[in-house]
């Protein structure tokens, strides 16, 4: 370094230290702006579009492997699968007919009660492209984006239950935050007792925690948790988790309850994205300042 500076044959521009300071300040500024204000979403979109082909290229070998695997499925396997599906189909038809009858009956009853109709949800199939690199984030990227009319806030599930929600949308990609993410909360209801609660991700792969439940709450191991739908984001009645462990220590105000997600949060390749808005009446104006602040806070937690 020294002799290039002393001789000055070549103009190398500013010194490394000056560059470090410049770029560090720039990064810190970006960090601050991104963490506080989220102004940079459009820039992120443009860059994500540029990066997209490289990402597809990186996952190409895996895609090819799966493709080859599917291509080489044996005939016996296909026949067996077909038989199984056929049986399943026959069983399902019977149940579906019952369901249709029940739906019609339910619609009539609801009309009688004057309750708002629950809207139908349409589903879109999406494939997981890759998993976020950060160990502390539970996020996935799927291959449907704003080109397929995906919007942030839509719910992602598999055939068993909730997986998470779409938190960021790019043109051909969208980012899904899983229910196991540390900052994620889902309002739930215990199916057996109807008790409402909120289940939080623990940041661990297969663990959720049910917080703020009193020690004497009516909850047992093996209880199923379904979405309560009172947040307006998650549709009601979809399975979320099952209680695996309860620790009731009278020394603490709340019981320590652990649950495991029902859906295959970590091992799914194909996911369903629910679309279809729920029509909710506008939020009533809160009476006092304190109440309003509280409402805002809880709302922010629902939509990380």
């Amino acid at each position: 370094m020294e002799h290039t500076e002393s001789v000055r044959f070549f103009n190398r521009g500013p010194s490394p230290a000056a560059r470090l300071v410049f770029f560090s300040l720039l990064s810190l500024l970006l960090l601050f702006v991104d963490a506080r204000y989220r102004y940079l979403e459009s820039t992120r979109n443009v860059l994500a579009t540029l990066v997209y082909p490289i990402q597809r290229l990186a996952t190409l070998p895996i895609t090819l492997w799966y493709g080859a695997d599917e291509f080489l499925t044996t005939q016996t396997g296909l026949i067996r699968d077909n038989d199984q599906l056929h049986e399943q189909h026959v069983a399902d038809v019977a149940r579906l007919q019952q369901l249709q009858m029940l739906q019609a009956e339910n619609a009539r009853l609801r009309k009688l009660l004057g309750v708002q109709q629950r809207s139908e949800y349409r589903m879109q199939l999406a494939e997981v492209i890759y998993v976020a690199r950060d160990v502390f984030q539970r996020k996935l990227f799927v291959d449907k984006g704003s080109q397929a009319n995906i919007q942030a806030g839509q719910i992602v599930m598999d055939d068993n239950g909730i997986i998470g929600q779409v938190t960021r949308v790019y043109p051909w990609l969208s980012e899904v935050t899983l229910v196991t993410d540390k900052d994620h909360a889902v309002p739930v209801q215990i199916m057996r007792s109807g008790l409402r609660a909120i289940v939080f991700g623990s940041g661990d792969t297969g663990d959720l925690s049910l917080r703020y439940m009193p020690v004497n709450a009516n909850i047992r191991e093996g209880d199923e948790l379904i979405t309560s739908g009172i947040d307006g984001t998650y549709p009601p009645g979809i399975p979320v988790a099952r209680v695996t462990h309860i620790e009731r220590d009278p020394a603490y105000p709340f019981a320590r309850i652990r649950c495991s997600p029902v859906a295959g949060v970590n091992d799914q390749r194909f996911l369903l994205i629910l679309s279809g808005e729920r029509k909710l009446p506008p939020r009533p104006e809160a009476a006092g300042d304190g109440v309003r602040g509280k409402g805002k806070k809880s709302r922010r937690k629902m939509l990380p």
Binding site: R12, P16, A35, V51, A58, Q137
Partner: protein, 171 residues
């Protein structure tokens, strides 16, 4: 290897901009493979390694600016906060440029010992950002710096070997 090329000449091997670009692209693709579970915790940061390689071997070609740009691309692909990887890679590139003469004098084993603190600094930036956001220090981040450092020697050998044929054409 060093019989054909004396050690002081290893660093004089030419490197075309195309080769530098391709190596960085390959590193990005390795980083974006779907790692999960324990592998995700132990995953080495290939982009950081390749950047460090070029910063120590060609400090006037690949500098803090390029490292910063690669960091921004990593941030986008990772959905992490804008500037997190950029800051880490800028610090890493600065360390690489400051130490480049020392690294050039050492053999691979000694280089590895010099690289380790730089990698630690790089991962310390992630941990610091995480600490600022979430309020606690995540020590798991640092396991990646160990695997990255262990990969320094194989990666250097590979890149040197890939650069060699260009010399034979010119000689």
């Amino acid at each position: 290897m060093s019989t054909v090329f004396p050690k002081d000449r290893e660093f004089l091997l030419p490197a075309s901009p195309l080769f530098i670009g391709l190596s960085l692209l390959a590193a990005l693709m390795l980083d974006w493979l779907p790692w999960s579970g324990l592998w995700l915790t132990l995953r080495p940061d290939f982009v950081a390694l390749v950047l460090l390689y070029w910063c120590t071997h060609k400090p006037y070609r690949v500098g803090i600016g390029i490292a910063w740009a690669m960091g921004i691309l990593s941030d986008v692909a990772d959905a992490s906060l804008f500037g997190q990887h950029a800051l880490a890679y800028a610090v890493l590139a600065f360390g690489g440029i400051v130490l480049h003469r020392r690294v050039q004098m050492f053999d691979l084993r000694q280089q590895t010992m010099q690289i380790f603190p730089l990698m630690l600094a790089c991962y310390a930036v992630y941990a610091a950002v995480h600490w600022q956001l979430h309020g606690y220090i995540a020590w798991e981040y640092f396991s990646g710096s160990v695997t990255s450092t262990l990969l320094w020697a194989p990666l250097t050998l590979l890149l040197q070997a890939l650069r060699r044929p260009h010399v034979e054409d010119e000689l």
